[in-house]
């Protein structure tokens, strides 16, 4: 291990960029698991599906960011369909939905992963865009442009979503359904439709997150396994359903991971997210900004 302040500063800077990116990939889960209580372990797999759709569109000459934004529409519909199916088969029947719901999403994650392997193979895929190879020079430091793009999109995504949830009528309804579903029912609203809408939004957000994933680095079908840890660590650390908490937790994970990467080497980095996750579950399961 080699220590210098320069290196630490670089790790911090990179960690902030990485952290915002992590927050953006987790924001969908923060809605679907944090607010709606759906054990959506297939969230990272759906995101990787988004990456591959972006890859496909980019191979026709689309800009990956544009592709990701356009993909939000079909993914919104996909999300609504997934929730509807989940509701009809598990939530409606009630008993033992926990075990079977988890098993269902785990199975879905595997189907998506293997489906991608069969169509695209196990090789890593990348996309091309003018902002991908280059980096910004600040004195001695170099910041890759792709990280800045991801950073910007992540901030926009997080703040838009948290504004949507607290300022608009539907957004408040989503928060209400998370807080007290029977009460919402008494007010004459249909919680299932609201949840379906929210799940659609969460899935649309993961389409854009998937586009960023392939902008930031090469993607392979099995990469979703690593992101199970990262996304759940962030959502749990944030406290279920807190959007600004998600950003803060993302930053914590990003900085921690980048420091470990810089000083201990890449082989230790994957364990950081999972270590934080176990620590939070053991010490403070309600998270930092828990409701």
């Amino acid at each position: 291990m080699f220590f210098s302040w320069d290196l630490l500063f670089e790790a911090l800077m990179f960690g902030v960029l990485l952290g915002c990116f992590y927050a953006a990939v987790s924001i969908g889960l923060s809605v679907s698991f944090g607010l709606l209580d759906v054990p959506h372990v297939a969230h990272p797999a759906v995101m990787v599906l988004g990456s591959y759709c972006t890859y496909l569109l980019a191979s026709y000459g689309w800009d990956p960011l544009v592709a990701g934004t356009v993909l939000m529409a079909p993914f919104f519909v996909l999300g609504m369909l997934i929730y509807r199916f989940y509701y009809e088969t598990f939530e409606k029947r009630g008993t033992e939905a926990g075990v079977r719901g988890l098993a269902f999403f785990f199975g879905v994650a595997f189907i998506i992963e293997v489906g991608l392997i069969m169509v695209f193979g196990v090789d890593q895929r990348t996309v091309n865009a003018p902002y991908i190879g280059d980096s910004l020079r600040l004195g001695d430091y170099r910041i890759p442009h792709r990280m800045i793009v991801a950073f910007g999109v992540a901030l926009v995504l997080t703040f838009t979503l948290s504004a949507y949830l607290s300022k608009t009528f539907t957004g408040r309804a989503i928060k209400a359904v998370a807080q007290d579903e029977p009460a919402l029912r008494l007010m004459g609203a249909n919680p299932v439709r609201i949840k379906q809408w929210a799940f659609g939004i969460a899935t649309a957000a993961s389409a854009l997150a998937g586009a960023m994933l392939i902008i930031v680095g090469p993607v392979e079908p099995a990469i979703d396994r690593l992101y199970i840890g990262r996304t759940f660590a962030i959502v749990v650390l944030a406290g279920l359903g807190s959007m600004t908490g998600t950003l803060a937790a993302g930053l914590i994970l990003g900085i921690a991971e980048s420091i470990v990467l810089m000083f201990f080497g890449a082989s230790w980095a994957p364990a950081v997210a999972f270590g934080i996750l176990l620590l939070v579950l053991g010490v403070r399961p309600q998270g930092l900004f828990g409701r």
Partner: protein, 310 residues
């Protein structure tokens, strides 16, 4: 007796087949199917009876393999010692994970078990003694007298272990422990109020389940003559154990056995005839199909048919 006589017959038949001149490949494939039986039975003790989903089968299995490898490399310990030590270490791991997360809702336990897989994998990747990321080649010891090859011996060992695991699961199911676990699966509060020591029972189930998974992993390095982290801690072990139980049916000890035999055999056939990717796809599709359409598994379907024809 209704259980023990067939159980003894299974072990004796396995030994008999191992001594007969059956094709070597049969043992090679059956060993994996038997491993599935142990893993699924172990998974069901916590997942089926108590309703806590464990995604960490791969962690317990892998740690079992690595414990065996360390003992073999360090002391040249015999297989029985390796299995016992692997069970102890994995059981301890199960106890630790349980202590940390079994107080929380089931989903948190499930996610924590995924975390354990990756943490253990990272530790092994960075541990030079066991070969790090590149893995370690192992030299099998001499074959013991009556068996023709080492794989045949491992097959018999695994068959005995499968019968042992099923016997343990059956004991848990019919004893007061099983009743307590079923009670807490239906309602944790109600069980606690009725005087069921829920946390203790969950911890016991988690420890026993982890120990059995570790034991199942112990002979694996010898079976392959090789060990490396990525395949030892592969999430496919987890999905297989979970899917076998869900497919067979989780309410009875027979369920995971049926599920594991169906799934394991099907996978061996698919791997040989089509490809190993399709094999994982088969598991995923079957899992989702059964969870959605036949939540009680094969056992539930059989029950319904029997009732229908009566």
């Amino acid at each position: 007796m209704r259980f023990w006589i067939p159980a003894m017959v299974v072990v004796l038949v396995a030994a008999g087949v191992a001594l007969s001149p059956v094709n070597e490949y049969f043992f090679y494939a059956s060993y994996i199917v038997l491993t599935f039986v142990v893993l699924a039975t172990a998974w069901n003790i916590l997942g089926g009876y108590a309703g806590y989903v464990n995604f960490g089968t791969a962690a317990f299995f892998g740690i079992g393999s690595y414990t065996a490898t360390v003992l073999f490399k360090w002391l040249g310990a015999p297989l029985v010692v390796q299995i016992a030590a692997a069970a102890a270490v994995s059981g301890l791991l199960g106890f630790g994970v349980g202590m940390l997360t079994l107080r929380l809702r089931g989903i948190f336990f499930a996610i924590a078990t995924v975390a354990v897989i990756f943490i253990m994998e990272t530790l092994m990747i960075n541990w030079r003694y066991v070969g790090g990321a590149t893995g370690l080649q192992l030299l099998r010891p001499e074959v013991m007298a009556p068996f023709e090859s080492y794989t045949r011996m491992l097959f018999v060992v695994m068959a005995a272990m499968a019968v042992g695991a099923v016997a343990l699961a059956r004991w848990v199911q019919v004893s007061w422990i099983g009743r307590g676990l079923r009670a807490l699966r239906d309602s944790e509060e109600a069980a606690e109020c009725a005087g069921v020591p829920t946390l203790k029972l969950k911890l016991f189930a988690c420890t026993l389940s982890g120990a059995l998974m570790g034991a199942a992993g112990a002979p694996m390095p010898m079976y392959l003559s090789f060990i490396e982290p990525v395949s030892s801690f592969n999430l496919t072990w987890s999905v297989n154990a979970l899917a076998a139980s869900m497919i067979g049916g989780t309410i009875h000890w027979l369920g995971p056995v049926i599920g594991a035999v169906i799934l394991g055999t099907l996978q061996q056939v698919v791997t040989v005839t089509i490809s190993s990717e399709v094999n994982v796809l088969v598991v995923g599709v079957l899992l989702v199909l059964f969870v959605v359409a036949a939540p009680e598994g094969v056992l539930g379907l059989l029950q319904r048919w029997i009732r229908f024809f009566k």
